[in-house]
């Protein structure tokens, strides 16, 4: 790989050629007119601005609820989002992009879209925003009364960002690590990080014109037993990389692990860590908010049980005072949800959020210890990353992944070492059975070892990969910890 990257701000003028090339990749690119887009954003009411809504929630100490949703055809997609807004009482809306678009396969997306129109049902697992183009996307934005975000999983999202931001979307999920490692196999990190610096720089350009676009690294990564220190490390790096490009509104994510103390501690430490590392880079005027993802791994088939999982996610989000929560549905283990199921997931979550909104999870030593562990682990990883990058976060990230200093469990990417093995401890918190090359000190290593020995003793078996497999199936089978039966 010959791309040379660093974490410095891209020069907007020098990006002109690249932008030209990006916009030429699909016919709809030609409709992007940045100056006109900025005027369009200026004329939008503030209630449609994502960052604005997040700021208000953060100040009020409230947790907002946002679903995932996207279908191929425009009319159907508008109807879906309006339903989630009106019947689901969503506070924030998504537009989930289909998997072809995520891989920049616009021709296949076009075919899927055409067939979907023909068959009258969505053959795509999301909304192909690039194929729809700026004007159609604006019809969508204008048909809603709350802000809407682009949610996807695209290693190279440059064209998608150009089109959707020009269309009036005010939030854009993803990042150079979080939308590569869990979502690709052979995309080098240098390339995806660079492509996401483009997206961040574009966002920064809007910001320079006074238009705040919210950016959100994808917190849960593979969604499967990802310990907080891993996702926090990626989140902080992506926050720094985005802020360097001029992004001012950043929402950092974390996917529910299932142990309430660990989840609350993770939510509490995430902004602390981000602000600490941003400050160290002199990036002080960035607003950090948090997003909690309800359980991202395998779900129970049974809808009633799924409601239990969903509500428990709502509990952790509320007690951890997340700024927003991404809501799952009772159809999670069945397939893409109907709009009714989606709305039900939101309403169940909102009931929990509202019943807990004025309650405080009391400070206590177990929570403090959990926070301390997360802070220490994450700092060990991040400090080593910066060291590997000789003070450059972009370079450091590439080298840290190569060295297994950051290592995401179950990730498909060949640029991920894949040497860690997570498992739950005896109270269900996610720990490491093997930490591979994570730069843990002896104290932390002993901590993980002791925690898993404790579980092993309780289950009368030696901690092994079978525990991991059992844990992967556990929630789907109605429990948190995969105990032998």
């Amino acid at each position: 790989m010959s791309i040379q990257i660093n974490h410095h701000k891209l020069d907007w003028q020098e990006m002109a050629d690249e932008r030209h090339e990006v916009l030429a990749a699909w016919v709809t690119g030609q409709d992007v007119d940045l100056e006109e887009a900025i005027a369009y954003h200026r004329a939008m009411p503030s209630k449609l601005n994502f960052a604005h809504t997040l700021t208000k929630a953060k100040q009020a100490g409230r947790t907002l609820a946002q679903p995932r949703a996207g279908v191929a055809e425009l009319g159907a997609h508008i109807e879906l989002l309006q339903y989630l807004q009106n019947e689901g009482e969503a506070d924030l809306l998504p537009t989930t992009i289909d998997s072809y678009t995520r891989q920049n396969r616009y021709e296949e997306a076009e075919r899927g879209l055409e067939e979907s129109v023909r068959e009258g049902r969505s053959l795509l697992n999301g909304f192909p925003a690039v194929n729809h183009g700026v004007d159609n996307c604006r019809l969508l934005v204008e048909s809603l009364s709350i802000p809407v975000q682009v949610r996807h999983g695209t290693p190279d999202a440059r064209l998608l960002a150009e089109i959707t931001l020009a269309a009036g979307f005010t939030a854009f999920e993803g990042g150079g690590i979080s939308y590569n490692i869990p979502y690709a196999k052979r995309v080098p990190l240098e390339k995806s990080i660079r492509d996401w610096q483009y997206v961040d720089r574009l966002t920064g350009y809007y910001q320079e014109q006074g238009i705040t676009i919210n950016r959100e690294p994808f917190g849960p990564l593979t969604g499967t037993l990802v310990a907080p220190c891993i996702s926090h490390s990626v989140a902080v790096i992506e926050a720094v990389l985005a802020a360097k490009q001029g992004v001012k509104s950043i929402t950092l994510g974390y996917g529910q692990c299932g142990n309430i103390n660990q989840d609350v501690a993770a939510l509490q430490t995430l902004p602390l860590l981000a602000e600490e590392y941003l400050r160290a880079e002199g990036l002080e005027d960035v607003e950090i908010t948090t997003v909690f993802h309800q359980w991202m791994g395998g779900f129970p088939n049974d809808e009633a049980r799924a409601f239990g999982v969903i509500a428990l996610g709502g509990v952790a989000a509320a007690l951890g005072k997340a700024t927003k929560v991404i809501v799952k549905t009772t159809h999670e283990a069945l397939g893409i949800p109907t709009k009714e199921a989606n709305a039900q997931g939101i309403r169940a979550t909102k009931q929990v959020l509202r019943m807990l909104q004025d309650q405080v999870y009391p400070e206590n030593p177990v929570l403090a210890q959990e926070r301390e562990i997360i802070m220490q682990e994450t700092r060990l990883i991040l400090d080593r990353t910066l060291e590997l990058g000789d003070g450059d976060w972009a370079l450091g990230a590439v080298r840290a992944f190569a060295a297994g200093v950051i290592d995401v469990p179950f990730a498909p990417s060949s640029f991920n070492a894949g040497r860690t093995m997570p498992a739950r401890d005896n109270e269900g918190a996610v720990r490491f059975l093997s930490w591979g090359n994570l730069p843990f000190n002896k104290e932390i290593q002993d901590f993980h070892r002791a925690k898993l020995e404790e579980r092993g003793k309780a289950e009368n078996r030696t901690p092994s990969f079978q525990m991991v497999i059992d844990d992967i199936y556990a929630i789907g089978q109605g429990r948190l910890i995969g105990r032998p039966r």
Partner: protein, 136 residues
């Protein structure tokens, strides 16, 4: 006892890696020779791997809902490559949303698969059938 070779992979633009890793481990523990192509596997890669490794079966996964589009023509490619009668299974979330299972099964049988499995399948649900189909 003879060791049979399985080619394993997640087809198309699909990146769901967890089930794939678990299947790899389970099939290996059950005594198969497993060639795991991982995620994001094209039809061509499946055919080439099957040819190269002289595989006895192809195990296709698709979780993300696009299987219908992604597998069309795969059986034909295998026929062209001269291994048209190779055993081929598919499993996962095969369509977008949830549809009547019997319809889904029929659809994918027509698309050239010998057996079709829903997402709740555990490795132990498949292995005995696979052994039988391979004459083990």
């Amino acid at each position: 006892m003879e060791t049979k070779t399985l080619v394993l992979g997640v087809i198309g633009s699909d990146v769901h890696a967890v089930g794939n890793k678990i299947l790899e481990i389970a099939f290996r523990e059950a005594g198969f020779n497993v060639v795991n192509l991982g995620v994001l596997v094209s039809q061509k890669e499946f055919v080439e791997a099957a040819l190269e490794t002289n595989a006895d079966a192809i195990m296709v996964s698709s979780l993300y809902g696009h299987a219908e589009i992604d597998v069309r023509g795969l059986r034909d490619l295998l026929i062209e490559a001269g291994i048209g009668d190779i055993l081929m299974y598919i499993g996962g979330y095969l369509v977008v949303g949830s549809q009547e299972w019997s319809e889904v099964e029929e659809k994918f049988k027509k698309l050239g698969f010998d057996r079709v499995y829903p997402p709740s399948t555990l490795p132990q649900d498949v292995i005995p059938t696979l052994r039988a189909d391979l004459g083990l």
